[in-house]
């Protein structure tokens, strides 16, 4: 299912990983009942060195819990995790020097200090040799356009600027793996594009392994060849983006303009008419099927003036996967 890049040397390995939280709820004045919440319920996957993988799922699916186990701040209830051959929860500090983490909704920067001072602290914390630090900082400043921001206190930065600042902070120590938790949340189109370009560049030129959590599927479409979908703590899909359509039973739509208003088209093999609006009609057919026979069948028996084929919307496909599992 992987693109083959990482099959030989898995950099991240999860085997049957679970995380169960005990939650107490009020049940009357004094009584509390204990509930088990299975945030992650038996997940296994591997990610190869240098891969860039999208990790998506609805809110509360277990994405952040997985990331926190990968970084070692949460200990799995069961199963085995290895990152670069290390058990993250046992050697958290050692691993911390080799990974970068960006939480879109939180910041690693120091609110009252200029951006440059935050970077200095990062340099000391990760014991980055000065030359490496200089090189990485220059690169980030150039690619993320941070130059004018270095002297500004973080509290004065806009969300997009802060986000770029945070991403740079996560890369100053040459991490082997980068965990990005919604790195484009709340950003405008231009900032998003800039962040994506930068991540692509980092992944390509430094061979950094990237695990990207997001709700913005454009992030995935533009950055990741492989996507994993998690829902209710379980992995429901792991593979190429295109393959999602097959699993999600998505449909393409043939839009035809006929010469005049007519009864809904019937009898085209594999297709059904889903909408009629004057002379225009919409026919849905499985995404795995070629459009040619459908077009041919319509053209043969109906007065066809114009046509277009609409590809399925990836968001719809995934929304269908989520709701399908919820039922």
């Amino acid at each position: 299912m992987t693109d083959g890049t990482g099959a030989e040397t898995p950099f991240i390995e999860l085997d049957g990983v679970r995380k169960v939280f005990q939650v107490r709820r009020k049940a009357g004045r004094l009584r509390r009942t204990k509930h088990e919440v299975r945030a992650v319920d038996g997940i296994s996957f591997t990610v190869g060195r240098g891969e860039m993988v999208g990790y998506i799922g609805p809110n509360g699916a277990g994405k952040s819990t997985t990331v926190k186990m990968l970084t070692g701040i949460l200990v799995p209830s069961a199963g085995r995790i290895r990152v670069a051959g290390i058990d993250p929860s046992r050697e958290r500090t050692g691993l911390a020097r080799r990974m970068g983490v960006v939480f879109g909704q939180r910041t690693t920067l120091w609110w009252d200090l200029p951006l440059r001072d935050s970077y200095e602290l990062v340099r000391r914390m990760y014991r980055v040799p000065y030359d490496t630090y200089r090189k990485n900082l220059d690169r980030c400043v150039e690619l993320l356009d941070l130059g004018p921001l270095l002297a500004a206190p973080v509290r004065q930065l806009s969300l997009g600027q802060r986000m770029r600042g945070d991403i740079a902070a996560a890369l100053l120590h040459d991490p082997e793996v980068l965990y990005l938790d919604e790195p484009t949340i709340g950003l405008d189109v231009i900032s998003k594009a800039r962040v994506r370009d930068f991540l692509r560049e980092v992944n390509a030129s430094l061979d950094t392994t990237v695990l990207l959590t997001t709700h913005d599927l454009t992030d995935i479409e533009q950055l990741c060849r492989r996507v994993m979908v998690i829902d209710h703590g379980r992995l429901v899909y792991d593979g190429g983006l295109a393959g999602l359509h097959e699993v999600g039973e998505s449909e393409r739509t043939l839009v035809v303009d006929l010469a005049r208003e007519m009864a809904p088209i019937e009898g085209v093999p594999g297709a059904r008419t889903v909408k009629v609006e004057g002379p225009r009609q919409w026919l849905a057919f499985p995404a795995s099927q070629s459009a040619a026979p459908v077009v041919a069948a319509v053209a043969e028996r109906w007065p066809l003036v114009d046509l277009s084929v609409r590809e399925p919307d990836i968001e719809d496909v995934i929304a269908r996967m989520y709701t399908g599992r919820a039922e």
Binding site: K68, I73, R97, M99, T108
Partner: protein, 266 residues
């Protein structure tokens, strides 16, 4: 150690940016200093040599207290509300990802903060007090040096106590109530309201052995020369002992907290 020195510098500079807040703080400390000083004058007129202090020493105690109030940060707040807030809203997850020790990190930041508060909010009220009243300030530089060491230890004890309070947020989510209680206890048992030596009998003796005594009573007594010769070392050892004990407890609580951690808010 370069990292923690840099963190301490950051803590210092952070507080240095808020000049209006500093000026307001200096004003408050000075006003409170006058109020308490006049009260003490009345009290010592009735009870001369209360607690073994003459009036000049009692007034010196007042102004040392005002100078150290913000530095030792006994009152509610004092730098670690941010830690409590980070635990509550889950930002602590970011801190835990760092290859740095959480407690040392915050201790360094707090020492930096205290360093600024001592200069920014301590010196002026002390100088005003010395001009307005007849204070018993020592001329012996060795005594001042011992006082400075004692202040550093006082800050460390104050930090260790507040760190414990902040960590309760891992269980309580909101540790404001604990902070209020701890702040009240600290105000009273540090000697900020009345020197602990003024309390008679067993109660006074117990109060002088509690950790809060390290925060003001001991540094003030060091400056006033209440300890003679090697007794100064004993006083500093008393503070260092509480600092070590409380930091160790903080470390144990911290590892219990991170083990059970359900980082709030995803």
């Amino acid at each position: 150690m370069g990292l923690y020195a840099a963190v301490a510098r950051g803590g210092f500079r952070r507080y240095a940016t808020y000049r209006t807040a500093t000026a307001a703080g200096v004003f408050t400390n000075t006003v409170f200093g006058f109020i308490i000083a006049y009260t003490y004058q009345a009290l010592w007129a009735e009870r001369p040599r209360l607690g073994g202090y003459d009036q000049a020493q009692a007034l010196t105690f007042v102004w040392v207290g005002q100078a150290l109030l913000a530095t030792v940060a006994l009152a509610i707040g004092g730098g670690l509300d941010e830690l409590q807030e980070r635990i509550r809203n889950g930002d602590i997850a970011v801190d835990l990802h760092r290859p740095a020790d959480l407690q040392l990190w915050w201790l360094a930041a707090d020492l930096g903060r205290a360093g600024f508060q001592l200069l920014g909010r301590g010196v002026v009220p002390m100088a005003v007090g010395a001009l307005a009243f007849d204070l018993a300030l020592p001329a012996d530089p060795a005594l001042w040096a011992a006082f400075l060491v004692s202040v550093v230890l006082a800050v460390t004890v104050g930090f260790a106590l507040r760190y414990l309070v902040a960590l309760t947020a891992f269980w309580l989510l909101d540790s404001a109530g604990v902070a209020v209680l701890s702040g009240l206890a600290a105000m009273f048992f540090s000697g900020m309201l009345l020197p602990l030596r003024a309390f008679p009998g067993g109660f006074g003796e117990v109060a002088r052995l509690l950790p809060w005594a390290s925060a003001l009573q001991v540094p003030a007594d060091v400056l006033l020369g209440r300890y003679e010769g090697a007794a100064v070392l004993g006083a500093l050892a008393f503070q260092a002992g509480w600092a070590a004990a409380l930091l160790t407890v903080g470390r144990l609580v911290q590892s219990a907290a991170t083990r059970k951690v359900v980082v709030q808010g995803g």
